[in-house]
């Protein structure tokens, strides 16, 4: 029981790699042709989409992380998160590219040292070295909290 397996889903924002707990991922969607903008909401809220008859709000991770928004986003995807400990809290996050599913041990996570600010995100769950890259693991509850503010 000492070593706890974790499954992560990694994705790219600009040049950095991030990941979230894969068990809390509901869907991965291609960028739909229309995201209905909702007026008078924070700038990072892209709008809402129709997912099998449910309304899912979508937040742009680039804007949350204070990055420039690029025009061409052919690989962009929406990761629909379903936070396990919050009710009715499904939310889509718009990312540049979804990378892969990583199976690892919890111990492999090291304390995150971020070079430069990551926008609204104040802290990470940890950082993993994977294929000679740093993958910062985002705490979904924390992310939801930010978006909800």
């Amino acid at each position: 029981m000492e070593t706890q397996n974790i499954t992560l889903l990694s994705f790219k924002i600009q040049d950095d790699l991030f990941a979230v707990d894969a068990l809390q991922v509901d869907h991965i969607l291609e960028l739909p042709p229309i995201i209905t903008a909702v007026p008078n909401t924070p700038h990072y809220m892209k709008g809402i989409i129709n997912l099998h008859g449910n309304i899912i709000p979508v937040a742009d991770m680039r804007l949350i992380m204070d990055k420039e928004v690029q025009d061409k986003r052919s690989d962009a995807s929406i990761i629909v998160l379903n936070p396990s400990n919050i009710q009715d809290a499904r939310i889509g996050i718009l990312v540049d590219v979804v990378e892969e599913v990583i199976e690892t041990k919890k111990e492999a996570l090291k304390e995150t040292i971020t070079e430069g600010k990551k926008g609204l995100i104040e802290h990470f769950e940890g950082t993993l070295v994977f294929n000679e890259d740093f993958v910062h693991v985002i705490n979904i509850a924390h992310l939801c909290e930010i978006i909800e503010k």
Binding site: T36, N40, T41, N50, G53, I55, P57, E148
Partner: protein, 677 residues
């Protein structure tokens, strides 16, 4: 796993507590009603038992003491008094608390609990001083027809195979006899002639009349392990012991002799004859009705219903896409199929929404409690009458309705109904009346709360509003307009309340909360005569008739119920306007440009404009949109927690082609616009 059972226990116990409260209310009016006492006892008993089983130890301990009290009551050791009822009411509150919190840990909670238990015990030692001896006396004194014995007719018709598994039916009959006085009728007419007999088969059947104070479940338990191998009927045939009745004995003899089984109908006469009094018959009927109701309904978690409604909405959306597609193909088969699907899904939708409606009844207990407690506290005598409690509403509406209603009722009691002396002085009956009335009116539900209290002095409200700077001192307002001022935020601050009408307390909050569920509230009052508050509600939240309009790139839905008229405008008409006022048919109307509200760039000139007149607070305001697309019935879905900050949209709707339209909350939109000014 255990948690699931705990949750289930809490849910069921909440029903139990509800039942307890209801029975207690009835008991207060009819203090000698044995059935009610029994009902209360049973509810406490199951709370105690379940509590222990699911780890609610404090709850179990607490109800144990209460149960003891009501055990004394039901065995005539203790009389029902108003004090006892009041004590039990507060005990119920404690039970609710314990159900909510589980076992207590905070020292002060534990102390409070201990004190309460001491009060319960004191009640037993104090009140029960007539004591066990006196009790014994009263028990013997009690006439047999007053005891809580009932007579049941048990028909036990085993299959031939009964004996194969070693079951000895005689044991079962013994066990029934152990429950009380019993009379067993053995029917042997099915036993074949000797040469045909199978030694291992059973050919007998039995009927037993048993008079017992035990419940029907206790009797059923006797047969629990043979129920697969027999036909079993257990029916109550009399509310007392009828085994001595001559008529009954005659009937049983005849039944055995003729080999014709007794039926419940055979006892109809006895049922009507008893010396007990006039009431029980209707009581019995009512009980029967309640029982039937229980069997014909099932418990489903609200989560499942929400899911069903979501799925149905999805189906409706898909069906809209299908008909769109079918129309494009112009294929006759396709069209007729699509039409059928449409019919079916419409019915299904209506059904699903019907399921999500719950009766208002479920909340009424709280209102009765409030009236009872407050009127006792304030020394007021109030007759609280409820009409239309069986009316059904969307559960989300009911959830949001309770607080405002409680608030209105509280105001009626605190500031409406006078104390008896004052009422007599005013030439009224000393007992005040509050009427709670709910009824359907078209697609709406109307709830009225009226009282015959002191009413509201419009003049005082007017003066206060002037003092507060809410109206000009020479404003010509009708009385109704003056009364409506109490719904304006800023009017009903506490200081105003205490010295003026009192009615203002938080009425702006009430109005706002009701607006959340698309409800509207209005008030009528006559000084000295009373007050009527009327609430109009939609029957369901999730579906609306809406007008689909275009603003910029987005589509929006405006509820039809809010719309008065539509006008097509020429851009010139606006250019002439100033100060956000437009002149149509020689009338001036204020208007709101939705492009501005939704921050759509105004770059290209609009060729055509549509003005939608919406009504709010008896005034018309125009909403300027780019295009009117059409009328739709749509399912409104919530925008969810992340978008709750924006205020003027009440949800989103998925259109037939899968795109999303946003639903505008006109009330809030106008409110916000007004506040900005």
């Amino acid at each position: 796993m255990i948690d699931k059972f705990r949750a289930k226990f809490v849910e069921e116990s909440t029903d139990n507590v509800h039942d307890l409260e209801e029975a207690l209310f009835l008991l207060e009016k009819d203090m000698d009603n044995k059935e009610l006492i029994e009902r209360i006892f049973r509810a406490m008993h199951s709370l105690k038992g379940g509590g222990a089983m699911f780890g609610f130890n404090h709850l179990s301990e607490f109800t144990h003491h209460l149960e003891t009290i009501f055990d004394w009551v039901r065995t005539n050791k203790l009389k029902v008094t108003t004090d006892l009822i009041t004590l039990t009411f507060s005990a119920i509150d404690q039970i609710k608390f314990l159900l909510k919190t589980g076992d207590l840990s905070a020292a002060e909670d534990l102390n409070a609990q201990q004190n309460f238990i001491q009060r319960l015990q004191a009640f037993l030692s104090g009140e029960g001083s007539t004591g066990p001896s006196g009790a014994a006396a009263s028990q013997t004194a009690a006439a047999p027809e007053e005891s809580d014995e009932k007579t049941y007719l048990i028909s036990f018709i085993p299959q031939k195979e009964l004996l194969q598994n070693g079951t000895n039916p005689l044991y079962l009959l013994d066990d029934i006899h152990a429950l009380g006085q019993a009379l067993t009728l053995a029917y042997t007419h099915k036993v074949p002639s000797l040469d045909l007999i199978d030694a291992e088969a059973n050919y007998c059947l039995w009927q037993i009349l048993v008079s017992t104070a035990e419940s029907i479940n206790e009797i059923k338990d006797v047969f629990i392990f043979v129920e697969d191998e027999c036909e079993l009927h257990i029916d109550q045939v009399a509310g007392r012991n009828i085994l001595q009745d001559k008529e009954v004995l005659e009937k049983t003899e005849k039944a055995v002799k003729n080999s014709t089984l007794l039926t419940v109908e055979d006892f109809k006469l006895e049922n009507q004859a008893p010396v007990a009094g006039p009431a029980p018959q209707t009581e019995e009927k009512k009980k029967a009705a309640i029982k039937e109701h229980k069997i014909s309904s099932i418990r489903v978690s609200s989560h499942k219903i929400d899911e069903l409604v979501t799925l149905v909405s999805e189906l409706v959306t898909l069906q809209a896409q299908l008909s769109l597609y079918a129309e494009n193909t112009q294929d006759a088969t396709m069209l007729s199929m699509s039409e059928n699907v449409q019919k079916l899904s419409r019915q299904l939708r209506e059904n699903a929404f019907d399921i999500s409606l719950i009766p208002l009844q479920s909340e009424l207990m709280r209102f009765q409690r409030l009236v009872r407690d407050l009127s006792k506290d304030q020394g007021k005598d109030i007759d609280f009458v409820i009409e239309g409690g069986d009316l059904e509403l969307d559960k989300n509406i009911i959830e949001n309705l309770t607080d405002p209603l409680l608030h209105i009722l509280r105001n009626s009691i605190d500031h409406g109904i006078e104390v008896p002396e004052d009422r007599i002085k005013a030439g009224k009956a000393p007992k005040g009346n509050i009427l709670f009335k709910a009824f359907y009116s078209g697609a709406n539900v109307i709830i009225e709360i009226s009282d015959d209290g002191k009413g509201i002095d419009a003049e005082l409200i007017r003066q206060k509003a002037i003092a507060k700077g809410l109206i000009e001192s020479d404003a010509a307002l009708t009385e109704k307009e003056v009364l409506d001022l109490i719904f304006v935020s800023g009017f009903s601050t506490r200081e105003v309340v205490s010295d003026v009408s009192g009615r203002g307390v938080g009425m702006d909050v009430v109005k706002r909360k009701l607006a959340n569920i698309r409800g509207e509230v209005s008030i009528e009052s006559e000084k000295g005569k009373g007050t009527l508050i009327s609430i109009t509600l939609p029957m369901t939240l999730s579906i609306i008739d809406g007008l689909l309009v275009g603003v910029g790139e987005n589509q929006y839905v405006i509820p039809i119920s809010a719309i008065d008229k539509l006008y097509a405008l020429q851009p010139e008409q606006l250019k002439q306007s100033f100060n956000q006022v437009v002149v149509i048919d020689n009338e001036q109307y204020p208007y709101i440009d939705l492009r501005k509200v939704f921050k759509v760039s105004d770059a290209e000139d609009r060729e055509q404009l549509q003005m939608i007149m919406v009504k709010a607070e008896d005034r018309l305001t125009g909403l300027l949109v780019d295009a009117v697309i059409g009328e739709y019935q749509t399912v409104v879905k919530p925008l969810g927690r992340y978008l709750k900050k924006q205020e003027i949209l009440s949800g989103a709707s998925i259109m037939g082609d899968g795109t999303i339209a946003l639903v505008i909350d006109t009330t809030r939109l106008l409110q916000k616009q007004k506040n900005r000014k």
